[in-house]
């Protein structure tokens, strides 16, 4: 089965809205082990829509079309489809009555423009939309079933889950079993990873892919069919052996998520003292519901006065060693941990740039410390990227990874191939 998607709408094409429907739909298919072949995004011009329906119907078995079913004049998916098939638009009495009932249930008269939403291509099979005024429909043209869905995200999602997926499962007998294994890495470049992993023998029907999402690279092993699924654990083990310290999660898409789950699991508390990361660690953790179970406080001590007043870092230490130093961040971590006697505290301080660097501490120099009730660990590294936001993001990741390793009983200071220790 070859499946494609056609996204319609000037606002999607011109970037006024980011096309989250397309990404969501791709993920739904992947969870079913179905690969999409192509996605085409077109604006609201009738002739473009007609042309793209005709053209793609020659190549795909199923085409999901998203958008253009609304009541306004720039919604013309139904008309374009009727033109593409050279047939008339015909009123679907059932949907017309549904619409009228929808409005009268709400004590309103149906606006004239909505009648258009019951006009479907003559050979269309209507698809119910229980949560909106735009019904879906499907039409066969050439080799393809074109399946039309509304652009409103929650209407689209419900129609995909309740109608589209059962339709393709039945129509195309999707029985083949598939399995996906994801491995999240940190601290190793994509080319170094590829150099090492491309030498591994990968059995037939297992494919390996990479997804780079700064500061992580995720490795995906996709197995298709019984034999490949059986071989997957062994392949995974060999990949993990190559990764070593660079493997930071098997279950979660980010280090923040990994830390969130580990802290909840182990019922440990955390405090933070953030200088160059400036609240980024706290903010990423607070984004998870339930983070209040472990996160006690975070002090963004951006000026030196805040470091001494709030964290009890002695002025002498800052004057002697500087704000970006092992001595200062260790004092910050201890100070943060002491306030409410947390199980752990993380502290960061660094030169995020673009200004503020020196020969001794160039932009990208960051220092991170982890304090527990009984010990303190720290490291100073140089991140070789002159980009403020990236330096802050990578600093967060190193901090998370120190805590992750401590929670798992490992030495908190790892070796990352692309980050130099100082």
């Amino acid at each position: 089965m070859k499946i494609e998607m056609i996204c319609t709408g000037e606002e999607v094409l011109s970037g006024q809205i980011v096309d989250t429907n397309a990404a969501w739909f791709g993920n739904q298919l992947m969870d079913l082990g179905i690969e999409m072949e192509r996605r085409v995004t077109v604006g609201d011009r009738l002739e473009d829509l007609t042309a793209v329906f005709q053209e793609r119907s020659l190549y795909a078995d199923v085409i999901i079309v998203n958008g253009g079913l609304g009541p306004t004049t720039d919604d013309m998916s139904a008309l374009a489809m009727a033109n593409a098939k050279n047939e008339a638009l015909v009123e679907n009495t059932q949907w017309r009555e549904t619409l009228e009932a929808w409005y009268s249930d709400r004590g309103r008269t149906m606006p004239a423009s909505n009648a258009k939403q019951a006009q479907l291509p003559a050979t269309a099979i209507m698809i119910d939309n229980p949560v909106g005024t735009a019904c879906g429909f499907r039409v066969k043209l050439n080799r393809a079933w074109l399946f039309f869905t509304p652009g409103v995200p929650h209407e689209f999602k419900q129609m995909v889950q309740e109608q589209f997926i059962p339709f393709i499962q039945q129509e195309f007998d999707l029985e083949e079993t598939t399995q996906l294994q994801k491995l999240l890495t940190f601290g190793i470049g994509e080319s170094t990873l590829a150099d090492e992993l491309d030498q591994l023998p990968i059995p037939e029907h297992i494919t390996m892919g990479y997804r780079s999402s700064m500061p992580h690279i995720e490795i995906k092993l996709f197995a298709r069919g019984e034999n490949a699924i059986e071989a997957l654990p062994d392949v995974t083990a060999r990949v993990k052996a190559v990764l070593g310290d660079a493997l930071v999660s098997e279950n979660h898409p980010t280090l923040a998520a990994e830390i969130h789950h580990l802290l909840l699991q182990q019922k440990k508390t955390l405090s933070l003292a953030e200088s160059c990361t400036g609240g980024l660690i706290a903010s990423q953790l607070v984004d998870f519901p339930g983070s209040s179970n472990y996160l006690q406080h975070c002090l963004v001590t951006y000026c030196n006065a805040a470091k001494t007043t709030l964290l009890n870092v002695s002025e002498a230490i800052i004057n002697q060693y500087g704000a970006v130093s092992i001595e200062t961040v260790e004092a910050m971590a201890s100070g943060a941990r002491n306030i409410l006697d947390s199980d752990y505290a993380l502290a960061t301080s660094g030169v995020a740039g673009p200004d503020g660097g020196s020969d001794d501490k160039p932009v990208g120099t960051v220092t991170i410390a982890l304090a527990s009730k009984s010990a303190i660990w720290s490291q100073q590294v140089h991140i070789p990227i002159n980009n403020r936001s990236m330096i802050r993001t990578i600093t967060c990741a190193i901090a998370y990874d120190m805590l992750r390793r401590a929670l798992l009983g490992k030495d908190p200071v790892a070796n990352y191939s692309f980050i130099k220790k100082r």
Copy 2:
């Protein structure tokens, strides 16, 4: 000039990453008054890539291709283009040397796999990438120039701005003068905006567009030609009159950027006490170089013990009124401001959900206070969206807007049409 975009990569097609490059690029074109005709998204299959390059080169004058220039085996845009044009891949000596220098400058040897990034189709014209290891290139096939760019967002953006746009401006003689006016709004829904603005008479050759980027809607007024440019200030003034309080910036893309510039300009200092926003305000400000000039500290007091210990909020107040109350956030703002006697302090506390809501304080109830040296203002609102991340983002925006209004000498508490005051 007909312009299309081809986005490549399994991870974009399958929705593992949302294609923000495509949306950003659409916006860039719109700012130049250029409409995109079509966008095609394909995966990492060589034959699909080759076919789509050949096919689209028959219809478009310029095709920007994004992604597939990395060092790994699933990056094959260059090979697919060479196949599409039926020519060989040839090493570009200049880029090979640039790559080797890039690595040796960093005290590293170039991994073998990177050599692939200097292999370009025989007739390609190399395009410099000063911030990454993937050079771009352009190739003429049929009627189209195919212009290849890296998928890494900051590399892509730099190449578009510094190389792609000048290229099409020169190649296609885009001389017509245009002007763009952007107005950033907050607190008003798109349909309400459209209902009011669509009634304004807009002169010929001025077009009005919207870009929705939660929590903001940006209004764009685009003028094409001398007469339209002359009329633009008058149209802008009429739009501003309709917007009233909803207009929050004329020069900056976000409220955070507006606040950053106002604080620098007025040389005022700021402290923060964040509960439900959890470091998000601090983090967004710290992302701007120079924020250390005004941001003194931020206390993320996520548990009540932190509020009393760090901010000196009395336990009695929290017990009597609750953590999400006018009384508590006012005490938090005062407490935060007092520590280093900042000019201003902002404090937030709210029910971000999905749990923790009650009949009295449902999910979405948030309280925000602003303290100055002489006064304190606060408001409790209900944000009618059951989404943790969105509630936190909108809370930040309200906090910024209170500070913005105070800095401009206005009443800090505005009326937002879509947010209910409590």
